[in-house]
């Protein structure tokens, strides 16, 4: 299981990469492993829309589960990954790079304080999988 150090993580298995005020959001390696083969991804927010922390921004479906992706931060959607509708399997093969879901211009960067770092998240995941 991969938990890159430069990212932050939510309890609901989303990762956040920050670059100034811009947050890139995706789902973690743990999440894609739990889902198994992803067959469909639908990002339900469009560029320009405002999101609140906790809002559902996407649905990820595999053959055995359908999971909602909750946005870990609030702000304005400035980019949506168009590749995922054609290639949903990217979520499995490259969850942290090619399978980013949205980019948010954060309205409240303090929200990042509520997220876990790589080692806390790793710890959290190992407790759950027993």
């Amino acid at each position: 299981m991969n938990y890159p150090n430069d990212l932050q993580y939510a309890e609901t298995d989303e990762w956040v990469k920050t670059d100034g005020k811009i947050a890139t959001i995706g789902v973690s390696d743990y999440a894609q492993d739990q889902l198994s083969d992803v067959v469909f991804v639908e990002v339900i927010k469009a560029v320009g829309e405002m999101v609140m922390k906790g809002d559902v921004i996407a649905t990820v479906e595999s053959v055995k589960a359908a999971a909602d992706v909750n946005c870990p931060v609030s702000g304005k959607v400035i980019a949506v990954n168009e590749d995922l509708s054609q290639s949903p399997e990217l979520i499995n093969s490259d969850p942290y790079e090619k399978a980013w879901l949205v980019r948010i211009d954060m309205s409240n960067p303090d929200e990042l304080g509520k997220l876990m770092d790589s080692s806390s998240y790793e710890q959290y995941c190992s407790e759950r999988s027993h």
Partner: protein, 450 residues
């Protein structure tokens, strides 16, 4: 009856479990309520139950004994012997839902073929594996539209010419959602209003417009311009169909509709006092993931052989749970198979032929009736195999006379439409001979003369 255990086996089994008697299995049940006496008649042997059921069924007079001109959502069509021969096979009717695809390819392929047949018939791109009936399929279209707009559009518009029971079911289904308005049919003063008049009601708060084809009064319309005006406001159009009529009529897909729902009873399913029937649901590819109900898809096995599985199951209740857009689990699998067999048997030529036969007999009947003094054909639009006649007496009275002559008369529209007292909805199918139709008109003439 059907319990094979002998006393000896029972003892052996209890021993393995480590209990003394059958009663010991139920100690978790509160004692004061345990083992109630049920006030039910004593058991009957198979012979006795057959005799009892014969007596019960003989208390009825049905379309087997009477000439039937009654339709209104359930139709007396001929069901070829081959249909029941197939669905009576235990391998089909005693099988379970095909969750283990490797040992359910019979059911899965049959349903896959059914989905295709429905698409071929309706002109739509994807069909599900069934809903309970036409009414609930219509309601599920509403639920789908509600979720499609994420609750932001809350208006639903009905033509008053959609089956009254379907509109009622729709209202029940939508009663759990907030702020819904259902309109177009609340004021039934002008039930024969033409569908294009509905366009004026459509706005940017409209989720869905629902019309019927042929409509409840038997009329057929081209819904192309209605579809255009519905789409111009960003709303969805659903057409409720009688799939049998599509043997002859232009498929609703060609009007540009978004959803087609309907009642499949007319495709080889017996009348059976109202159920089990078959809810049809078909739509465009873009709404595929929003459909409720099961879907069968094609795939391959580990050796590359073609096979079929239930797919997109993550939309359904057993995975999405409260986030599923519908709760449907058991659907109408055997009835979907029934209609697939019927459609395969009749095929391209047979369905067209029998639909035309119904059309012609209905038009002959209507023409003959219109010549009787006191009777008038009401709705002035083209019709398929049902038509409305204005009668000189109450429909109830006329039907009593008809019954005396061994005829089941048409439906009393006054029951659902206050301005249509003395209006009868007459259905004619391939089961009505010319003599039947002539007898109907003779008796109608008799009644008018009294």
């Amino acid at each position: 009856m059907f319990i094979p255990h002998t006393k000896i086996e029972q003892e052996e089994m209890l021993k393995v479990i480590g209990l003394k008697s059958l009663e010991d299995l139920f100690l978790d049940v509160p004692e004061s309520h345990r083992f109630p006496t049920l006030n039910i008649p004593p058991s009957l042997s198979e012979m006795e139950v057959m005799a009892h059921m014969q007596t019960l069924s003989a208390a009825n007079e049905t379309t087997r004994d009477l000439v039937c001109f009654l339709g209104a959502g359930a139709y007396n069509h001929y069901i070829p012997a081959a249909v029941d021969a197939i669905i009576r096979r235990g391998e089909f009717y005693t099988a379970y839902t095909p969750y283990q695809p490797e040992i359910s390819q019979g059911t899965l392929q049959a349903i896959f073929e059914y989905q295709t047949l429905i698409c071929a018939l309706t002109g739509m791109q994807v069909s599900n594996a069934s809903h309970y009936d036409g009414a609930t399929a219509t309601a599920e279209a509403g639920v789908m539209a509600y979720h499609h707009y994420r609750g932001k559009r809350t208006k639903f518009i009905f033509s008053p010419a959609v089956h009254p029971q379907y509109r009622a079911t729709f209202r029940t289904y939508m009663s759990g959602y907030q702020g819904i308005t259902i309109m177009g049919d609340e004021n039934l003063e002008d039930p024969f209003v033409k569908p294009d008049n509905l366009s004026s009601l459509v706005d940017f708060d409209t989720a869905m417009v629902i019309v019927q084809y042929p409509d409840f009064f038997g009329r057929i319309f081209d819904y192309t311009s209605l579809a255009q005006s519905v789409h111009s406001k960003g709303a969805l159009l659903t057409i409720v169909v009688n799939p049998f009529s599509l043997g002859m009529l232009k498929p609703p897909g060609e009007f540009g509709t978004d959803v087609v729902v309907g009642e499949g009873q007319s495709l080889g399913i017996p009348l059976s006092f109202g159920g089990p029937y078959l809810g049809i649901f078909a739509t465009k590819n873009e709404y595929m993931r929003k459909i409720s109900g099961r879907l069968v898809g094609e795939t391959v096995d580990t050796e590359g052989h073609r096979g079929y599985v239930l797919t997109l199951t993550t939309r359904e209740q057993h995975i999405r749970r409260e986030k599923a857009t519908s709760n449907i689990c058991t659907n109408q699998g055997l009835m979907a198979l029934t209609s697939a067999v019927y459609l395969s048997l009749l095929g391209k030529h047979g369905l067209r032929k029998v639909a035309e036969i119904c059309y012609q007999k209905a038009h002959y009947a209507a023409h003959q009736t219109s010549k009787i003094h006191g009777y008038r054909l009401c709705a002035d639009s083209p019709f398929f195999h049902e038509f409305v006649i204005c009668c000189p007496n109450s429909v109830e009275e006329i039907n009593m006379h008809l019954l005396d002559h061994g005829i089941l008369g048409g439906y009393d529209l006054g029951k659902d439409y206050p301005t249509l007292k003395n209006h009868m909805l007459v259905a004619v199918t391939e089961m009505n001979t010319r003599d039947d139709i002539d007898l109907l008109n003779e008796v109608l003439a008799e009644v008018a003369n009294d």
